[in-house]
Amino acid sequence: MHSGQIILGIETSCDETSAALVADGREILANVISSQVNLHAIYGGVVPELASRRHVELIVPAVETAFKEAGLTFDDLSAIAVTPGPGLVGALLVGLSYAKAVALAQSLPLIGVHHTAAHIYSNVLVHPDLKPPFLSLVVSGGHTSLIHVHGHGQYELLGRTVDDAAGEAFDKIARALGLGYPGGPAIERLARSGNPDALPLPQAVVKDNPLDFSFSGLKTAVLNYLNTLRQRKQEPNKADVAASLQRAVVIALVERTLEAADITGLKKIVLAGGVAANGELREALRTAGAKRGLQVLVPPPILCTDNAAMVGCAGYWYLRQGLTAPLSLNAIANLPLGAELTWGKLGEK
């Protein structure tokens, strides 16, 4: 038995079917992640229709396992939190429809948690005393964003990628090098034995907003380099390519983040998202932050992947602020940060 508020978190935005039970926004009682990586690997990337189909088969067992692990039942819940976007809309709809049905059946509050916000809250799970305001860098296959977190559910987007996400650049170069899918971990493994200064790569500057990111130029430069070698019938040193790419991406991420800390005066930096599992990024941000007297928090790698515990955690803090959603909440592929919190007020019936 648990005396606190238990939130059931549901996350199906991409290729992980996840269900979690979180107590008081800080204690993970269960965090079941059913990965579909093998299903999509043969296609070299996530196939949306196949992901959606698999979610339908995995959602009930995921929730059942979570309750079993936690020794709880639906009667113990205080609310249901779910990701309504951004993500693959067909995949999101499975988790969202399921979550809404549970909220309806159990007469419980429904909470919509933006996927990027959920990633940020993975840090709250391991640092329960972490309180806004703070700066967050969210990096994944789909996003690269700098966010000023003013309060629970109060976000200001300071910068974002104007083209590819950082993880996307990793995935594409990994494919070009024949490293398979997913690309990020493969690049990191290979980079360990490579020379990060081997390739002269451009640092992207975005004119309109110094806090925006751009990774397409970097990606193109690496692809051109590989093409030139191929024309000369030379083999690339894959480890050097991986190391140089990773170094360039990490420098761009760390520089913008420190700039954002300067501009906002924020002293706490919180790293989040799938690419937050990258060792070089974690180390570089920690070191650079420490030099300037900034506190840098990084979540454990397991909480960097898509998981429902971070959704359940955010759900607890949203519930405390009264930030609940109506049963008409819809899944939106490119949901803007914060839009899920105004769904009811937008007059959506």
Partner: protein, 239 residues
């Protein structure tokens, strides 16, 4: 016992409440692409209009398709959430069975036809029967082109009559006319799968012990994902 029935395979959203196998309330709307928004609120409204709490519901029935892949997943994921959290049985019924049940009569074959897009039609063929709520197809649930539907019809129906219904009728009209079969069309209001009929079929199946494995049950997609087909075609081309 109260049963909630959901049908989301087509542009029509249909939700019904049944008591002891008899329809009590039904809501139908043409809500193309809005099923995700309207389904849960519609269930909540129907329950509260009957003065029911969710805990009063004893079973869930869901149309399993074929139909819109997304629509099917919205319905089945909702049904799974209700059934799992209320700890009640889930029964699925093919959307084509639902359409057929409204049309089947003793002296004619029936073929419900649904627009499957990309030049295809979802179809199944049913023999004449005095018990339309028990009808099961003679064929499988198929995705065919119009001329294939006509060819199947000619072979199965012979000198008998054929009733057609569903939003795919207009796609097959020309090819069916060319067969010289005696084809009956239903009035347009009978062309949508209704949850009240789905619920009646489900109640009978439930009484017969036909309950789904909640975890494993999936929609009747009939068609495979485009990416799977493309991959296979590529493989066959190279071997």
């Amino acid at each position: 016992m109260w049963l909630v029935a959901l049908e989301t395979a087509t542009p029509t959203l249909s939700v019904a409440l049944l008591k002891d196998g008899k329809p009590v309330a039904e809501h139908n709307e043409q809500s193309k692409r809005r099923h995700a928004v309207t389904l849960a609120p519609t269930i909540a409204t129907l329950l509260s209009e009957q003065g029911l709490k969710p805990q009063d519901v004893g079973a869930v029935a869901c149309g399993s398709g074929p139909g819109s892949f997304t629509g099917l997943r919205i319905g089945l994921s909702t049904a799974k959430g209700l059934a799992q959290s209320l700890n009640i049985p889930l029964v699925t019924v093919s959307t084509l069975d639902v359409l057929a049940a409204a049309a089947v009569r003793p002296d004619a074959f029936t073929a419900p036809l649904l627009d499957a897009k990309q030049g295809h039609i979802y179809v199944a063929f049913y023999a004449g029967s005095k018990e339309p709520l028990n009808c099961r197809p003679l064929t499988g649930y198929l995705a065919l082109r119009s001329e294939q539907v006509a060819a199947q019809a000619k072979e199965l129906v012979g000198k008998n009559r054929l009733t057609v219904c569903g939003d795919g009728v207009f796609l097959c009209k020309e090819d069916l006319m060319a067969t010289n079969l005696e084809v009956l069309e239903l009035p347009s209001w009978q062309n949508v799968p209704r949850a009240s009929i789905l619920g009646q079929i489900a109640a009978r199946r439930l009484a017969g012990g036909e309950v789904e494995d909640l975890a494993a049950v999936k929609p009747l997609y009939v068609r495979r994902a485009a990416a799977e087909l493309a991959r296979e075609a590529k493989k066959n081309a190279t071997t």
